[in-house]
């Protein structure tokens, strides 16, 4: 194994050399064509791998109706896609073909074949020449894969949910902090949607609604349920499916024809991270969490040390909003969701926020990630922030399962004096999938 770390410049040279060797005509990428707004950052191109080529992953890679990046990462001049991965081999091969065709067309390099297809993410991150990976895989594995990537020295853009247990989430954070790798969670509301969410948070934290008292989150949290135990039954796995990679760190279960991304969850363990992320941002709790979690009429609530209460339901008398949050303060309230930003009284929205409202500014989630890959700074939703937001979902889920109020220590990340609840914080991963 070659253990000398290649610099990014060397990677570029090597990557371009490899490409040039594999195409009919020499590939010269003009300096002016690289980088944001046509400028060339010294980091040059970022070599990326993509895992999970279903709807979300393909959208990131190729662009699509929902994506936040026209044409996807493939269209960016500052990214070179070197590898694609999906547990379904046909998807991986199809992705490879599409990426190669794109580069052939873009650079006029007929016959270019510089993209590799994988079915096991672990093989993809063994490559020295991959700088960063985008993970849009099955949600039971995403955070785990991100952690493995950090240990392999890769920067990661990871779709939500970013973990299925609180301990896995913490292990992921530790890995990124220890290895100095960049992590961006796919909680795009911080950057996208015309800045509505940022504007709302600037106002909330800038004092436009007075002192924040309550947040209505419209999400109820949930949890992860492991597949039913079926040990010893290997099942017949068709060729072209990497079932072992699909099962990942979960307890083994036989092939059942379903390699979808969203399985084994109950309640809201998926979409809710978007919205609890905004709640945490508004509360100013990006590096901490609530201290108490309970239920009121079956609806979870979470309370922070500063007294702010998050209620996992709609504002009294109002309908559920699909996503978003309603921040209620002593001087008014602000409602923000993907389709709107409103306030009561309305003039709150016209106010310039106070200095406390100067929150992290990003107007493109993917560009923020790539900028941070180049500058090594913390993205707008890094591992710690993502883990803390996701923890709200899982904490609310544990409270629902146990049906009682729980005291949470957000620094140590343990329930105080509640062994039963603490046992719900983790799940031993399957052999061969080491947490750490």
């Amino acid at each position: 194994m070659n253990t000398s770390k290649l610099t990014r410049r060397r990677l570029i040279r090597r990557g371009l050399a490899a490409m040039a060797a594999s195409v009919a005509a020499p590939l010269v990428v003009p300096r002016h064509a690289l980088g944001r707004n046509g400028l060339v950052p010294p980091g040059e191109r970022i070599h990326m791998g993509f895992t999970g080529l279903g709807g979300q992953g393909s959208g990131h890679l190729f662009g699509g109706a929902w994506t936040y990046l026209p044409g996807g990462y493939l269209a960016r001049n500052d990214v070179q896609v070197l590898a694609v991965c999906d547990v379904q081999q046909s998807r991986a091969e199809d992705g490879k073909r599409r990426v190669e065709e794109h580069y052939q067309q873009r650079f006029g390099a007929g016959g270019y074949s510089g993209v590799s297809a994988y079915t096991d993410f672990r093989r993809m991150i063994e490559r020295d020449d991959v700088d960063a990976v985008l993970i849009a895989a099955s949600y039971h594995a995403q955070g785990f894969l991100a952690m493995l990537a950090a240990r392999a020295g890769k920067d990661v853009y990871c779709e939500k949910p970013t973990s299925i247990t609180i301990r896995w989430g913490r292990a992921m954070v530790d890995a990124f902090q220890r290895h100095g790798c960049i992590f961006q969670a796919g909680t795009q509301q911080r950057s996208e949607y015309d800045g509505k969410f940022r504007r709302a948070i600037e106002l909330v934290r800038g004092g436009a609604i007075g002192t924040l008292k309550t947040v209505y989150s419209y999400q109820q949290g949930g949890g992860f349920s492991a597949p039913a135990p079926q040990p010893g039954t290997a099942g017949e796995i068709p060729p072209g499916v990497d079932w072992d990679a699909y099962v990942g760190p979960l307890p083994w279960f036989p092939y059942d024809g379903n390699t979808s991304g969203h399985r084994f969850g109950w309640g809201d363990i998926n979409w809710g991270q978007h919205h609890y992320d905004i709640v945490q941002w508004g509360v100013g709790a990006d590096d901490t969490g609530p201290v108490e979690i309970g239920l009121r009429d079956g609806t979870p609530w979470l309370k922070y040390a500063n007294g702010v209460e998050v209620i996992s339901g709609p504002y009294p008398g109002e309908a559920w909003i699909p996503g978003g949050a309603c921040f209620v303060g002593t001087g008014g309230r602000i409602v923000v969701h993907r389709n709107g930003l409103t306030a009561d009284p309305p003039e709150i929205l016209r106010q310039p926020p106070g200095p406390e409202g100067n929150v992290y500014y990003s107007d493109s989630h993917s560009a923020n990630f790539l900028d941070c890959v180049r500058t090594r700074q913390r993205p707008i939703c890094d591992a710690e922030i993502a883990h803390r937001g996701n923890s709200l979902l899982l904490l609310a889920g544990i409270a629902q399962r146990l049906g009682r109020t729980l005291r949470w220590d957000p620094q140590r990340e343990v329930f105080e004096g509640d062994d039963e609840a603490n046992r719900m914080l983790s799940l031993a991963p399957r052999e061969g999938w080491t947490l750490g």
Binding site: M1, T3, S4, K5, T7, R8, R9, H32, G35, R36, N37, L39, P41, P42, G43, D128, R151, A152, G153, D174, R178, H179, G180, R199, G223, S225, A226, A228, P229, Q230, P231, G232, P251, W252, P345, P346, E347, R350, Y360, Y361, D363, D371, R374, T375, R376, Q377, R378, L402, E420, R423, M424, S426, L427, A428, R430, E431, G432, T434, L435, G436
Partner: protein, 663 residues
């Protein structure tokens, strides 16, 4: 019998505690129950097991198909017995099972396991070595570190990568435990050139984290290093520096290599510390375009209104940096920026610059700039007119309404005039009281002028309220045909159902046919608006409108509006037209719209199922059919077990529907 007590799957996985339950699971484990039952018992014991259950679980650690489930249980248990069982299993397993057991030992931070784990660092299976190394790393004691160092020194290249990973993890643990010097020594060894890259990079970061009072100097040295791994480590450490240290680093950053300088500028930007504004401004003026762009981004976050003096000159050049400069202007933070930017507008002669500056004001939500922007709605340059009108729509506040209305009077009909009206209406939304809204509009209008009455009555109609109604009623009594028509338009624009009877009257008695149609359509619209009227009254109004309608256009509209009244009677009303050739498309849409609401759909399953089946049978709109299928599925009508997936004949669907509607 024992098997009967075991519930497979997830239920027990999250079961609640109870000693009886624990005993039942232990009995399963000690029985000849199938592996699945034993696995489920382990998962239950994860939550409810006490030390008493460990002896029953432990033998399963060496059973390939149950080892993982046994670890699931033991790893979660806070008992010394569980730790001992895992330690013992290291010697009775091999390969990937042993690796898994080592993982669990590591996860439990079992300090008593150091020697047991260290003994397998020389295992022939690299998976075992990796798990052992990481387990020792998590245990994180000095002895664990010593064992790892010894193994690392003697390891072949491939093993150094995984043992080094564990050693690094151990150093991080020692650092957290306050053994900083010990940790720093390990980081020093692992950060030497030639060490595996996945270890060396984090070790360099560790060297910075453990530098103590040498941190500023070390960060500067690292940033200036030729070795990109060293400078990258320093860059990654910048966000964690105390403000005073970061300030000293920024102060010396101009001589750094470009990559490091960009990192420092980004760190300064993200810190939000305005003390970095001079450095940001200096960078924005750099001749290196990459540094200049990073500088402008930092200016936007740090420099406040004075930042415009840097950004505007760049933005108004033909340079590739112009667009990044505009983006920085749009993001520029601080008091007084909006006013300063708006004040810059009159000084710009170039229409392109005017347009871009107006758009920047809009992007900034600079509502205070509306009075300035109003001057540009009459610009000779089309793009300037359009940009200013768009900006006013976005920014207008109630206080701006009189000025906007006055300007409307002077603006020819067209896009800008429409935009001004829209801006006024949006701004008026911020005023809760209708009469206050009317007053805001009238402040800019002379109602003594017939021409102005004709112009503004429709706008007043949209606002509603008693004061506007009085003016509209007066217009409806006017003999002046233009004023009368403006009155009909106004009441047809009404925002609530308060005028529904007046509209019904006009729908039959207005002077002109087109006015009667306007009134009828308005009646249909307001009938189903949320609030004001009870649902049965809304539906009765729609039925009445159906009787009054002479054309399918209005009948279709009435059926569409029924979709907004969430009652089963509305469903029956709409579904009755599913067989009507001209009205069926809107009836289909109304049915699926009503079915969208779970709280209506679920209790009225018997009415919705046949209606949705009928929609699937008759609709040619794929989107509507998809929605109908989805709602049927949510009602428990599974594709495999029902006819709807095959599109039953419209006749059969009709027969079923009629039967349901009669219930």
């Amino acid at each position: 019998m024992i098997r009967m007590t075991v519930v497979l799957g997830t239920t027990l996985f999250l079961a609640t505690a109870g000693s009886g339950q624990e005993q039942a699971q232990i009995e399963v484990l000690r029985s000849d129950a199938p592996a699945a039952a034993k696995a489920a018992a382990c998962r239950a014991l994860k939550l409810v097991g006490t030390a008493d259950s460990v002896a029953a679980i432990a033998p399963l650690l060496s059973v390939p198909e149950l080892s993982h489930d046994a670890r699931i249980a033991l790893e979660a248990m806070p008992y010394a017995e569980a730790s001992a069982a895992l330690r013992d299993a290291v010697g009775t397993t091999e390969g990937v099972l042993r690796a898994g057991i080592l993982d669990s030992i590591g996860q439990r931070r079992d300090q008593e396991a150091v020697n047991v784990v260290a003994a397998v660092l020389a295992d022939g299976d690299l998976r075992v070595v990796a798990s052992a190394a990481l387990a020792l790393g998590k245990i994180g004691t000095s002895e664990a570190a010593r064992q790892l160092e010894q193994a690392y020194a003697n390891a072949a290249e491939e093993r150094r990568v995984v043992i080094g990973d564990g050693w690094l993890r151990c150093a991080a643990g020692l650092q957290q435990a306050g053994l900083v010097e010990e940790a720093a020594a390990i980081f020093g060894k692992l950060s030497a050139p030639g060490e595996p890259a996945t270890v060396r990079g984090p070790a360099l970061l560790g060297l910075l984290q453990t530098a103590g009072d040498k941190t500023p100097d070390r960060v500067r040295r690292f940033l200036a290093a030729d070795d990109p791994m060293i400078s990258a480590a320093a860059a990654a450490f910048l966000p964690y520096l105390p403000p005073t240290t970061l300030r000293s680093v920024v102060a010396d950053s101009e001589q750094l290599p470009v990559a490091s300088r960009l990192a420092v500028l980004a760190a300064a930007r993200l810190s939000g510390d305005s003390a970095f504004a001079p450095a940001a401004i200096a960078a924005a003026r750099s001749e290196d375009p990459v540094v200049a762009q990073a500088g402008m981004e930092a200016v936007a976050m740090l420099a406040g209104a004075p930042g415009l003096d840097v950004l505007l000159p760049i933005a108004t050049t033909e340079s590739p940096l112009a667009e990044p400069a505009w983006r920085a202007i749009e993001a520029l933070r601080g008091a007084g920026v909006d006013a300063k930017l708006a004040a810059a507008l009159p000084g710009r002669q170039d229409p392109g610059h005017q347009v871009r500056l107006i758009r920047a004001l809009a992007a900034r939500n600079a509502s205070g700039s509306v009075p300035v922007l109003l001057d540009y709605v009459g610009s000779d340059h089309g793009e300037v007119r359009a940009a200013s009108a768009d900006a006013i729509v976005r920014l207008a506040m109630p206080a701006h309404v009189p000025a906007i209305v006055t300007l409307m009077l002077q603006t020819p009909r067209g896009a800008e005039r429409d935009a001004l009206e829209k801006a006024a209406m949006l701004a008026l939304d911020d005023i809760a009281d209708a009469d206050r809204r009317t007053a805001a509009v009238l402040a800019g209008v002379d109602l003594q002028s017939d021409a102005q009455r004709v112009e503004f009555l429709p706008l007043l109609g949209r606002i509603g309220g008693d004061r506007a109604l009085a003016l509209v009623q007066a217009a409806l009594g006017s003999s002046n045909a233009q004023i009368y028509e403006a009155g009909v338009r106004a009441i047809a624009n009404w925002p609530d159902a308060g005028v529904v009877e007046r509209l019904a009257d006009l729908a039959q008695n207005a002077r002109e046919n087109h006015q009667r149609i306007w009134a009828l359509r308005a009646m249909i619209r307001v009938s189903a608006l949320p609030g004001t009227l009870p649902d049965d009254r809304k539906l009765a109004l729609l039925r009445r409108a159906m009787e009054m309608a002479a054309r399918d256009d209005e009948r279709s509209l009435a059926i569409q509006r029924a979709g907004a009244i969430r009652t089963v009677e509305s469903l029956r009303f709409a579904a009755a037209y599913l067989d009507h050739a001209g009205l069926a498309p809107d009836a289909c849409r109304a049915v699926v719209e009503l079915a969208h609401h779970k709280e209506l759909r679920d209790p009225n399953r018997d009415a919705f199922v046949p209606a949705l089946r009928k929609v699937i049978a008759v609709s040619s709109d794929a989107g509507v059919v998809d929605r109908a299928k989805r709602y049927l599925q949510e009602l428990g009508e599974h594709k495999q077990s029902s006819q709807w997936g095959k599109r039953v004949s419209p006749r059969l669907a009709s027969a079923r529907l009629k039967e349901a509607l009669l219930q």
